[in-house]
Symmetry: C2
Subunit: 324 residues, 2 copies
């Protein structure tokens, strides 16, 4: 697969055509109660209802189907803490090729089960980026599988951008979109897609304060490492790649940090009011908006609820979950 230097709107449009019928068009929910609480008009893009329960189905499906037959014939491989893993396993099964998945051994059971359900072949490793990368390299060497990074991959980034493209067709009046940032695949795709459609729109990343490498990179202009991420939002512990950082620098307006407390409160409120299941990572942009992130008064704001995969035995407000 040819990886051009940067993410473009045509790549996202191609992704949309490629994944059509293979992923869901997800609904947008609104709530008078949440509007009243925030003072904004909020439009929740429910990727919680996406295939595999997360937006990651978009990027993984685009990447798998963008491979030539020659590139795809030995299958695909990745390392991922969860949602990308399940999404890649599902996309590989749709294409009829094997998927080799490297997962940290502390991955929540719900996320392990989804990979197995789609026939992904799991290899466990220590919960460090170095161990994940080394194990994945070994598997690629042994199998000849095509490596599909969870976010440092142009086709993945293009696929993630389709959510914002879809959202802006559903809610053309949006003036801002807030989405979580971990490795930056979704934020890159969102920014490129949304600004191509509507140049004046504001794009804001939301990040746990305990895993704020994107905010630090954005503020300093230099790519920063993840150091020791500490957050309940397990999907957002990764660090930006050079490729995603470049798009974020070029197209994103701000990155907001949110506290752990506001993530848990926000998640709970989304469950109580919207009546849907949202994982901690998915609640981060709502937490950013609700905790008063500046500059958004009275506006139509799109919030990407990115995923809904979590252990129901480990809810952060339950006694067992509270120890996390």
């Amino acid at each position: 697969m040819t990886q051009t230097a940067s993410l473009t709107w045509p790549l996202i449009q191609q992704a949309r055509a490629r994944i059509e019928g293979r992923v869901s068009i997800t609904p947008v929910l609104t709530s008078a109660t949440l509007d009243e609480l925030s003072g904004l008009k909020l439009h929740f893009k429910c990727e919680t209802f996406q295939k595999c329960g997360a937006f990651k189905a978009r990027g993984a499906t685009n990447a798998v189907f963008a491979l030539s037959d020659q590139e795809a014939r030995h299958g695909v491989a990745t390392h991922s803490s969860g949602n990308h893993a399940a999404a890649l396993a599902r996309a590989a099964r749709l294409r009829g090729i094997p998927a080799y998945i490297v997962m940290p051994d502390n991955t929540p059971k719900a996320k392990r089960d989804s990979v197995s359900r789609y026939g992904g072949q799991i290899t466990y490793c220590a919960a460090t980026l170095a161990a994940r990368e080394a194990t994945a390299r070994e598997i690629v060497a042994a199998t000849g599988a095509a490596f599909i990074h969870p976010y440092d991959n142009l086709m993945v980034m293009a696929g993630q951008g389709t959510a914002a493209a879809e959202l802006l067709e559903q809610v053309p009046q949006l003036e801002a979109i807030v989405c979580p940032v971990g490795g930056g695949g979704l934020l890159s795709g969102t920014a490129v897609a949304a600004k191509a459609i509507k140049a004046a729109i504001r794009i804001i990343g939301a990040e746990p304060a305990g895993a704020d490498d994107a905010a630090r990179s954005f503020e300093s202009g230099q790519l920063q490492g993840a150091a020791h991420p500490e957050t309940i939002a397990d999907g957002l512990r990764g660090a930006l790649a050079a490729r995603t950082f470049a798009e974020i620098q070029a197209h994103v307006d701000a990155i907001a940090r949110v506290s752990e407390e506001s993530i848990v409160q926000g998640m709970r409120r989304l469950w109580e009011v919207l009546k849907i299941v949202v994982e901690p990572s998915g609640a981060v942009p709502y937490a950013a908006v609700q905790s008063g992130y500046a500059g958004l008064e009275g506006r139509h704001v799109g919030i990407v609820l990115t995923g809904a995969n979590l252990d129901l035995d480990q809810l952060p407000w339950s006694p067992r979950g509270a120890g996390r």
Copy 2:
């Protein structure tokens, strides 16, 4: 309000016109995973996303707006363990009249809060039907409010029937509908509406085995009391009224009993797979279908997910909730 002897399809059609724009048209969800597990084609009517988080908004809104100005001028009153209470408070607020709500003092906090949020005036009483009825009578005598029973009321029953009418427009191929039965308002309305639209459709009530007055009444042909209902499905502890029993005898095909364990398992699976919040009562019809209720192989089955209001601190699979 004139209460004719029995529920008719024209009353449900009138209800639909009356509540249009005042309640939500709720979505229908499907899941390949749940179809595979059940061997059926399941269509979930998500009244979990209804106003106030439950189908009760339909009946309460119809009843409140069916009152003449004269009847409505002193407000409305009811006794209810929760969802009807919030729905009546909301409907009264829409009409600009007071709502007096009698609730048992063990009502979950989430349900109390929703009544207060809509401006309902709560009076607590002991958690027995006798205490609820006596307290409500006193309030009606003191205020002159119109009493709107949670299910023993033709306009409420007609309103509840609109969910099935809507569902059959959304999924015309349905061959059966399963819905929970507590007091029988929803089941009556569902049966009358669905059979008017499609005479051959099967209508099945689902009830906790620990609160099986409807099954006992149905089987014996004699209205049975609720005795001592014991179930986590707090919305289904009520007993049939003569009025709802008559409709159920005339139009319902079967009533299935489900175990407490299957309710909790079913509820959890709906959360995990559909990614939505469903309260225990709402999971009862899915539990009935999943636990192998006979005669439904391969069919298109509509399942009414009736509500989504519960204390997130009291989930039945959490240590604190397990003691319930």
